[in-house]
C-alpha cells in the first residue's frame, strides 16, 4: 500500500455536536415563545419576527461579503440573534424598528468586535437597549390590538392587583416573546435536555432574584407577588435564553454561579428600586460587562494543584 494516510495530532475523533447544531436547537427552543407571541399579538408580531431575522442574517452576509470574509450565516447564530431581538420588541412596533435593531445587533455589537464569539455583549440585548434609548416611545408602548394599558409588571409596581394565571400562560401585554412563561419554559426544557444549557446560571439567577424580592419587595413571602415577578417581564426569557448566551457569560463553572447571583441582585434592584418596572435587559448587559472580572476571580484550580506536595 503506497497511498499515504491522513495524519494529524491526537485526538482523531470528534463529537457530532457543532456550532450550527447548537444554534439550530436554540432557534427551535425559541419557537414556542415565538409561536405564542404570534398567536397572542397577531400578524404584526409575525412580520416583526420575519423582518428582524432577515435583517440580522442579511447584515452578517453583506458585511462578510464586503470585507471578503468567509460567510458564516450557515451557523445560524444570526438567526438566533434576530429571533431573540424580535421577541424583545413590543408587538405594535413598526417593521423598520426590527430592521434597525437587526443591523445594530449584528454590525455594531457583533461584527465590529470580531464576529461570532468575540462580542462582549449579547447582540440582541445590546440592540434592544439601543432601541429603548433611541426610540423610547415606540419601545415602551405596549398598546396593541389585543391589549391596552400598562404591562402587568408596571401594574404590579404601581401597586395594582394582577392576574398571575394569565401571566403564566402569557395572555397579557408585553414584548412579543416574553409574556408566556409556559412557552419559554418548554423551550428551556428542550435546551436543558439537549445539554445545550444547564441550570447553573438560570437557577442561581432566579433563586437570587426571588430572595431579593422576598427581602426587599415589601411583600415578604407573598406567593402571588413573587409569582407575578417571576412570570412578568423578561425574567424567564432573559434567564434561560439571554443570560445563558455562551459568548457573553463566564466560561468558568464557579463564575457562572457568581454571574447568576449578580444578575439576580441587579434585576431586583432595577425592578424594585428603579424608575422602570423592568430591568432584566440592563441587568444582563451590565452582567456581560463584568464577565472578564468574574472569570479572572473564579479561574479554576487545576487538578492536583494547591495541595501540599506529599
Amino acid at each position: 500500500m503506497s497511498d499515504l494516510m491522513k495524519v494529524s495530532s491526537n485526538p482523531h475523533i470528534r463529537s457530532k455536536t457543532s456550532t450550527s447544531s447548537i444554534m439550530l436547537a436554540v432557534v427551535i427552543a425559541l419557537l414556542p415563545a415565538a409561536g405564542f407571541g404570534i398567536y397572542n399579538f397577531g400578524m404584526n408580531a409575525l412580520i416583526l419576527i420575519l423582518v428582524t431575522v432577515l435583517s440580522t442574517v442579511l447584515t452578517e452576509y453583506i458585511f462578510e461579503k464586503i470585507l471578503g470574509k468567509k460567510v458564516t450565516i450557515g451557523d445560524y447564530s444570526a438567526v438566533v440573534t434576530g429571533l431573540l431581538l424580535a421577541l424583545n420588541l413590543p408587538p405594535s412596533a413598526p417593521w423598520w424598528i426590527g430592521v434597525i435593531g437587526g443591523i445594530f445587533a449584528i454590525l455594531v455589537v457583533k461584527m465590529l468586535f470580531g464576529g461570532l464569539g468575540q462580542n462582549f455583549m449579547n447582540p440582541a440585548l445590546g440592540a434592544r437597549c439601543f432601541l429603548l434609548i433611541s426610540y423610547t416611545s415606540i419601545m415602551t408602548n405596549f398598546d396593541c390590538d389585543a391589549y391596552t394599558g400598562a404591562t402587568p409588571l408596571a401594574e404590579l409596581k404601581s401597586g395594582k392587583a394582577v392576574d398571575v394565571l394569565s401571566m403564566v400562560i402569557g395572555k397579557t401585554s408585553g414584548t412579543i416573546g416574553e409574556t408566556s412563561m409556559i412557552a419559554i419554559v418548554i423551550g428551556a426544557c428542550i435546551l436543558i435536555m439537549l445539554g445545550i444549557i444547564d441550570l447553573r446560571i438560570p437557577g442561581s439567577y432566579i433563586i437570587t432574584f426571588v430572595i431579593f424580592v422576598v427581602l426587599f419587595g415589601g411583600h415578604g413571602l407573598d406567593a402571588a407577588y413573587i409569582s407575578a415577578h417571576l412570570a412578568g417581564g423578561g425574567l424567564m426569557l432573559g434567564a434561560f435564553f439571554m443570560a445563558t448566551d455562551y459568548v457573553t457569560r463566564p466560561v468558568t463553572i464557579k463564575g457562572q454561579y457568581v454571574y447568576g447571583i449578580i444578575l439576580g441582585i441587579l434585576t431586583g434592584i432595577f425592578r424594585i428600586f428603579g424608575a422602570s418596572a423592568e430591568g432584566v435587559s440592563y441587568a444582563i448587559i451590565i452582567g456581560n460587562l463584568l464577565v472578564p472580572i468574574i472569570e479572572k476571580a473564579t479561574f479554576p484550580t487545576a487538578f492536583g494543584k494547591g495541595g501540599a506536595k506529599a
Binding site: 494516510m5 495530532s9 485526538p11 482523531h12 475523533i13 461570532l116 479561574f299 487545576a302
Partner: protein, 438 residues
C-alpha cells in the same frame, strides 16, 4: 455511594464491540523484525549484537543505556540483517536492530526461578529490569524505575490500571478474561515489594465480567481489592485513576509515588509475572487490530518487532479503504502515514478508520460554550490555553496552568467549533518542556 470517578471526561462511541469477543490469537511473524532502540522513556538501549550475528528467540540484543532505560530482546531466531534507522509510529526515524526471521523460533533456555515469595525485593526488581519491562499502556516508562521509589515503605497502594478507557481497545479486556490469574499473581509480586501497600484492581464498570472474575480470584487475598470505576474517558489516565481509586490528587510535577501510589497497566503486570515466575523477558504484547476498515477485527498476541502490514493481513486485510490509521486508541494514539512500522512495547492497538473527523470538520470561531471547561479532567480552561498557545504567550500559558494539561484530547473531542485545542496546547507544552531542559 457515588460511583468512583473524577470530574470532567467524555463518553465517545467506544467501538469495543468490534473486537471484544474475539479471543487472543497468536501471530507468527513472516518478514523481518525491527527493534527500535528507543521504545521507552529514557536513554536508548545499546546494541550488543552485530550485523551477521545469529540470534535466538529470547536473546538479549540491546542492553539498557542507563538507569532509566530498558534492554531489548529478540523475539524470533534468525540473523541480524542491519542496524540502521527505521521509521516508528511517531513518524521519527529511530536507530533499530533488524533481524531476518529464520522461521525456526529456536529459543534460549530461560533461567529457572525460585518462588517469588523466597526472592528478595532486590532480586525481583532485578528480574523486572533485566526483562526490559516498560509501561505498556503507552507511556513506556521503565517499570523497574517505577518499582524502586525513594521511600518504598511510603507506598500504600499498588494500582493495576484495568480501566482501558480508550475507545476501540480491547487488549486489556481480553487479557483479564483469558489470563486473570497472571494479572493477580503479577500484582502480588509487585505488592511483595511494598510492605505497607494494598493492591487495587481498578476496572471500568463496562467490564462487569472482568470485575466478577477478578473478585472471585482475589476473594482470599486480603491485600487486594477490586474497584469498579465509572465508565468514562479518560478514567485510565494515571492522575484520574489514582483519584478515583484512592481519592488522592497529584499534579503534573508529582509522581504517583508522591501520593503513595504505584500504577501499572494490565499488560505490564502480566509481563512482571512472566519475568519473575517464568524467567521470560518482555517479548510480546496484545494488540487490538480494529476499526471499520478492517475485515475481521481481532486481538492478537504479537511478537515485538512485527511489521504492522502483517497484523493487517492477519485481521483479514481491509474491507474498505482506510482513510486514517492510528497506532493506539483514537483519543491519544499516533496517526501513521505508512504501515511499514514495527510493533513496539507500547503499541496497544492498530485502528483503521474509513473516515477522518479531523479533516472532515473545519475549525471555526470559538463560541465560548464552555464544554471544554466542563470536560477537562485537568480542570483547566482549554479554550484560553489554546488561545495563548496560538499566540505563543508563554507567560499567560504558564500562569493559567497550561502545563497541567494531560493531552487526553477531551476538549478537542467535545468542541462544537471543532477547534484544535489539544493540538495547540500539546505543541506549546512540548516547546515549554524543551525549553526547560536547556
Amino acid at each position: 455511594m457515588a460511583r468512583l470517578t473524577f470530574v470532567g471526561g467524555i463518553h465517545p462511541y467506544d467501538g469495543k464491540n468490534l473486537s471484544k469477543d474475539k479471543p487472543i490469537k497468536a501471530v507468527l511473524p513472516k518478514g523481518d523484525l525491527v527493534y527500535p532502540l528507543s521504545q521507552h522513556i529514557g536513554a536508548p538501549a545499546k546494541p550488543i549484537v552485530e550485523k551477521g550475528d545469529h540470534v535466538l528467540t529470547g536473546q538479549k540484543i540491546a542492553e539498557a543505556g542507563g538507569f532509566v532505560s530498558a534492554p531489548i530482546y529478540a523475539t524470533v531466531s534468525g540473523t541480524v540483517k542491519a542496524i540502521e534507522p527505521h521509521r516508528v509510529v511517531t513518524g521519527d526515524s529511530v536507530m533499530s536492530i533488524i533481524v531476518e526471521n529464520d522461521g525456526l523460533y529456536e529459543e534460549v533456555e530461560y533461567p529457572v526461578r525460585k518462588p517469588f515469595e523466597d526472592m528478595t525485593k532486590q532480586e525481583i526488581i532485578e528480574c523486572v529490569k533485566e526483562a526490559g519491562i516498560v509501561g505498556m499502556g503507552g507511556a513506556g516508562f521503565p517499570t523497574h524505575v517505577k518499582l524502586s521509589p525513594k521511600e518504598p515503605e511510603k507506598i500504600e497502594y499498588v494500582i493495576a490500571n484495568c480501566a482501558e478507557c480508550e475507545p476501540y481497545l480491547t487488549s486489556d479486556y481480553r487479557r483479564m478474561i483469558e489470563e486473570p490469574e497472571k494479572l493477580v499473581q503479577g500484582l502480588k509480586i509487585s505488592l511483595s515489594l511494598f510492605d505497607n501497600a494494598r493492591g487495587i484492581l481498578a476496572v471500568e464498570d463496562n467490564k462487569p465480567d472482568c470485575i466478577d472474575v477478578l473478585k472471585n480470584l482475589t476473594k482470599n487475598e486480603p491485600r487486594i481489592s477490586v474497584k469498579a470505576l465509572k465508565t468514562k474517558y479518560p478514567q485510565g489516565a494515571e492522575r484520574q485513576l489514582i483519584y478515583a481509586a484512592t481519592g488522592r490528587k497529584i499534579n503534573s510535577s508529582m509522581l504517583p509515588a508522591d501520593a503513595g501510589c504505584i500504577v501499572d497497566n494490565v499488560d505490564t503486570i502480566v509481563a512482571i509475572y512472566h519475568a519473575v515466575v517464568e524467567g521470560k523477558p518482555l517479548m510480546n504484547r496484545i494488540v487490538t487490530v480494529t476499526g471499520d476498515a478492517i475485515a475481521d477485527p481481532r486481538n492478537f498476541i504479537v511478537r515485538i518487532g512485527t511489521n504492522y502490514h502483517e497484523l493487517i493481513e492477519e485481521a483479514g486485510g481491509f474491507k474498505k479503504d482506510p482513510v486514517k490509521i492510528v497506532s493506539g486508541g483514537p483519543m491519544m494514539g499516533f496517526a501513521i502515514f505508512d504501515l511499514d512500522v514495527p510493533t513496539t512495547k507500547t503499541a496497544s492497538a492498530l485502528l483503521c478508520l474509513t473516515q477522518d473527523d479531523v479533516s472532515d470538520m473545519e475549525p471555526s470561531a470559538c463560541i465560548n460554550c464552555g464544554r471544554c471547561v466542563d470536560v477537562c479532567p485537568g480542570r483547566v480552561v482549554p479554550k484560553l490555553l489554546a488561545d495563548y498557545a496560538e499566540h505563543y504567550d508563554e507567560e499567560a500559558f504558564l500562569a493559567h496552568d497550561g502545563m497541567e494539561c494531560c493531552e487526553c484530547g477531551c476538549c478537542s473531542y467535545i468542541c462544537p467549533a471543532k477547534r484544535q485545542l489539544t493540538q495547540s496546547i500539546k505543541s506549546m507544552r512540548k516547546m515549554m518542556l524543551a525549553k526547560k531542559k536547556k
